[in-house]
Amino acid sequence: MSEKVFASSAFNDNLDSRQRKARIWQTILLACTLLGILVLTMMLVDIIVDGAGWLSPTLFNNNHSRFPEKTGMNSAIYGSIYNVLLTALFCFPLGVAAAIYLEEYAPKSKLTNFINININNLAGVPSIVYGMLGLTVFGRMFGLFAPESPLVNFFNLPVEAGNVGGLKFNLFGIPGLIIHLPFGRSLVAGAMTMSLLILPTVIISSREAIRAVPTSIREAAYGLGATRWQMIRTQVLPVSFPGILTGIILAMGRALGETAPLIIMGAFMYVPFLPRNIWDKFTTMPIQIYNWITLPQPEYNIHLAAAGIIVLLLVLLGMSALAIFLRNKLQVKW
């Protein structure tokens, strides 16, 4: 019909068939979207049905027990929170500093290019690889502090044997600054491994935030006699801070959900108390959930596991909401 309206000899515009194709594609795309949403919804509904009834103060206040009704995930919740906060503490300065260097200082060279490519690659390395790295480097420190190791023998270090063995010393004699080598299966070791895992993501998102600072205000600062560092500190960092923060919170969300590296690290399945300090053993929510799923009773492997997943999802949602809130609140509107 339309062919007749805009009749033209040089174009065989075939409008009806083109429009039919367009409609078919639209339907296919919609179907794919709905399928994804449908599967997600089914999972959520299933989890809520299985677990909602088990959300109770007991779940938050108690630790794992032989009786499902008395079982909770208190130590796992706190373990996750401590772990993720410690991770942020390690990751924030390192990641932001690296991002500032790479964006503001690094010369355009082959080496810089190589580093850039590899940061992107590292962000895609499976988390289990980080777990093995963390175990070797932080957890065992290459066995350097094991009894009878060459290092220990050479310096005659006073190491202890056993699980929490190794070298303990008190840096500067300040009571709070006791250091254990190697880090073993402690919160420190877990958080450092998680830091390695999320560092590439933190660097990438921080760089994006820094790059988004307009050239015009950089030039304005230089034009007034600012040094490079003054320009960075007074303009780039305040303006990019909301973006950097958002990236870090989202990365912390990833660290919160990761299980494999911590299991490789040897994080404990069953920790019936809260970590007393950063050298203490710990467990986390996903490990706790995994642990329950492996138990034979349906109270554990269906209901408690689902309840645990609900708690984990709520914490993750809360962190995303916080990230969005901070971004909207602090973002500079040009």
Binding site: I217, A220, Y222, G223, L224, G225, Q235, V332
Partner: protein
């Protein structure tokens, strides 16, 4: 060709030039952008730089406070004397130079901070030891903005109108107490009323400061400036797109009786 124009102009000048370039050329990634510029800027005057787009006006302006240092691949040859001092010498730190040479950009670019903090930024980073409140007020008064903002100094500089923002940027540049102010098309983003305010402001400011302004607006150059430099692309090698200084002289003379045919064509709008 350009050299003698400049020389005749400067003959009857008593004061030493504040800026003088000798054989100044600028390269971007080894591509020549402006060639052999010889120009002497009179103190306490407004000097306009005019010329077609891409002829290197901004490039020339940015050599005066060494802003081109910030562009990777930019290279400057020849001499630039600021009050007789070679500003490209190794021993000179451009950071120190830029406090003495303020810059106002084409698009108003206030910092996303309060009006007060915008003006106080330069003095703070340069460790100003005097009374900051007074300095902020003086600078805003000089930029003819004080009356409009005196009750909202704590509000964001971004909340002002475009014309007000540009005057804020001028106040911010004045606060470091420069001798010379470089303006790169400061009114091109503004309406005629705001443009006129900036022009009036420039004329007030030249009592104390020297101003160099790049503009595309012939009337503005004619009205506001004392001297005018006309830059254009080198005709003898037009493919290379090399900017040169074609004519430089008193604005009145350059506009009414240009020596160069190309200048005349450009001014009367018969260019290209």
């Amino acid at each position: 060709m350009e050299n003698n124009i400049r020389d005749t102009h400067l003959k009857n000048q008593s004061k030493e030039p504040i800026i003088e370039t000798k054989g100044l050329s600028v390269f971007y990634n080894n591509r020549l952008a402006i060639r052999d510029i010889n120009i002497a800027i009179e103190p306490n005057k407004i000097t306009a730089i005019i010329g077609p787009s891409g002829c290197g006006k901004s490039t020339l302006l940015r050599t005066f406070n060494r802003m081109n240092d910030l562009i990777p691949g930019a290279r400057v040859e020849g001499k630039i004397l600021y009050n007789g001092i070679d500003i490209n010498q190794k021993a000179l730190d451009p950071v120190g130079l830029r406090r003495h040479i303020g810059m106002v950009f084409q698009k108003p670019n206030p910092f996303p901070k309060s009006i007060y903090d915008n003006v106080a930024f330069g003095p703070r980073i340069n460790h100003y030891t005097g009374n900051m409140d007074e300095l902020v007020e003086t600078s805003l008064r000089q930029a003819a903005l004080w009356d409009e903002v005196k009750d909202k100094l704590k509000e964001s500089g971004l909340a002002l109108s475009g014309g007000q923002q540009q005057r804020l940027c001028i106040a911010r540049a004045l606060a470091t107490q420069p001798d010379l102010i470089l303006m790169d098309e400061p009114a091109s983003a503004l309406d005629p009323v705001a443009t006129q305010r900036i022009e009036e402001l420039m004329i007030e400011l030249k009592e104390k400061y020297t101003i160099i302004i790049v503009t595309h607006n012939m009337q503005q150059a004619g009205r506001a400036s004392d001297n005018t430099a006309f830059m254009s692309l080198d005709r003898e090698n037009i493919e290379a797109r090399i900017g040169i200084l074609v004519e430089y002289g008193k604005t009145e003379q350059l506009f009414t009786n240009p020596r160069n045919k190309e200048t005349e064509d450009y001014i009367t709008g018969r260019f290209g």
